[in-house]
Symmetry: none
Subunit: 194 residues, 4 copies
DNA sequence: AATGAATGAGGGTTCATTCAT
DNA sequence: GATGAATGAACCCTCATTCAT
């Protein structure tokens, strides 16, 4: 990649990063192209040169985000720590984008167009589910997961925890509860067997 | 309340109902005053006569929504069924608005202004927490809740489940998992003690 | 029609008139909604309140224009003057909009959308052609039209003359040639039979 | 002309050809510099290197077009066929650009600036009119043109026919009428003398 | 109190043109 | 001389809000 290419790629990254940050802070619809342009330090038209229109930009931000999330997930799954540690990391590692998508993102895209849903579905089938399967097999072997439970149900719980905790308004308040929350995840409200 | 008053009150209700429905379906920002007016069968200006501006309208919709939710919650708590049934009802009774607010609502209001947060906080302190406390005491007595767990942690789980399941895109897919999900809530991923 | 209705109708007319004048002078694409608004003495948004979008406005201007033209044509056909006089009037009466549409109008609409074409076609079948038929029968009886000629060919000539002469840049220059032009129409370049 | 010069000249031609084709198909205003650049296989800036700005480009396209038209006209006039054949060729030979300019071209340039008008006027005085004079003298000698008619009037007819028939929307529909149309041109609506 | 009509401000997008390499 | 990248200005359109009746 020559200098031109590299600078072009860099600028694209800048715009994507500016977008993602603003979207996270203010939601998608509230953020205008003008704002993104300002934050990325380019003119509005430059954004159009790279992304054609706002929806295409959102789409690429979305892909960028999903890919980063999956990559992150992969790393944790293949890391060398016990099962319960992995779960904790998956659930609580904020900013290290999630296996599940931020709600407004998701809902926005689901309602407006369906292409994005396909991408998510595909990534899901090809990557997320296999990782989870591997993970749960491990969990069962280590005795953390009841073999009678379906993978779906556990995945649901993990997604939910991860997604919910990611919420700006939630994260702040539950940090002191981290231990208890993981405990409930493993042992339920009834508590540990002795 | 005389005829005038009553008709006035009725119209206000109509507007609130129209608003809440549209907000749920399309999100707050996508819904224009014109659309609300049309759905409520009044002119735009009438909305302004009752609510001053869009933000005030949202605010009142919000109050309306929270009050309804709390009322609902109260009923379940005081109903005559075992603890685990109550929990199931709280978590899975869709449409019977929640103890927790729809995310976009919340985020929107949190970001824009802080007044609403105070109201929620107040309702929380005065109503929601006491109900939960009563509920958990019951749960502990019936053996469903480990006495060592803090109320906060359990409330966190209930809120999360309720809120997450309320999501349009989620609800459809997890209905068959209902039983398993409640099981995990009570017994954790490790499963029942025998 | 009450005062409200009348004023509304009046304003709509104002906008249509402003549009048609500007379109005639500068072409359709060069004219912005802002300019029309200014000329009609209303705000841009008012135009949108009446016409939804620019294309719909153009469409209505178009209908307005075609209808006026046909009406005009009808009057001439049913008037009480000899055939050759009628032809002269049809061809040379400028501003009294034509049986045929201004080119840019036509081309623009033909290219962009096809609905308008249908309307023209319809008016053509239902009104213009019958009037022409009547007119030519008269012309043949009065000896101005060779019975061997098809109506289509004569209509072509009339349309052409009318349309061409309507052109801003042409009209000015051919006024002194009026007589000769009508002569050529009736007698050809070869000239009168004696 | 050396290699450099020649390649330069070639590129200019490419741009002019690309422009003229696009202008004919979509009208002047609808065609962007970007589109021309793409069709000509050069960068936008290259166009600016050759033509300074869009208006200058249009101007040169215009000259190019007029010159080609006159050249074409000249060929027909000096060809070795009878008068009526020449007329037919002038009028119906589509694509072989005309003695008269395409309307949008003309109107656009007339309205925007006046320089182009001068060029046309000049070509007109120096070339077109002399050719026509020669042509009509021939026509009169061969008995096709009434000697009492002014050259202006006949020129008007020819221009009009040529220009009108060039129109995309017209050309398609009048092909079957070719014979009749030429007949009317020579003999008028009253028909041939016997 | 209620409405139809009107508007200023702002958003997404396009385009002729210039900058930097 | 040629290009990819960048831009200011303008355009169509929407929306919360106000005016006039």
């Amino acid at each position: 990649m020559d200098g031109f290419q590299r600078r072009r790629e860099q600028k694209k990254q800048d715009i994507l990063e500016a977008s993602i940050n603003l979207f996270m802070d203010y939601g998608i619809q509230k953020v205008s192209i003008a704002e993104i342009a300002k934050k990325a330090g380019v003119s509005q038209v430059t954004i159009y040169n790279y992304f054609e229109n706002k929806h295409k930009l959102i789409h690429e931000v979305f892909i960028y985000y999903v890919d980063k999330a999956v990559e992150n997930f992969e790393q944790v799954v293949y890391s060398d720590v016990p099962f319960n540690e992995k779960i904790k990391q998956i659930i609580f590692n904020k900013k290290e984008v999630a296996t599940q998508i931020n709600e407004e993102f998701y809902q926005y895209l689901m309602k407006e167009y369906s292409t994005e849903g396909n991408y998510i579905e595909q990534v899901y089938q090809e990557k997320t589910i296999p990782y989870f399967t591997k993970l749960f097999k491990e969990g069962k072997k280590q005795g953390y997961v009841n073999p009678n439970l379906s993978n779906e149900a556990i995945m649901f719980y993990i997604h939910m925890l991860k997604d919910y905790i990611q919420r700006e308004d939630v994260y702040q308040n539950i940090l002191p509860l981290t231990e208890e929350i993981t405990d409930i995840f493993f042992y339920g409200t009834m508590g540990k067997k002795e």
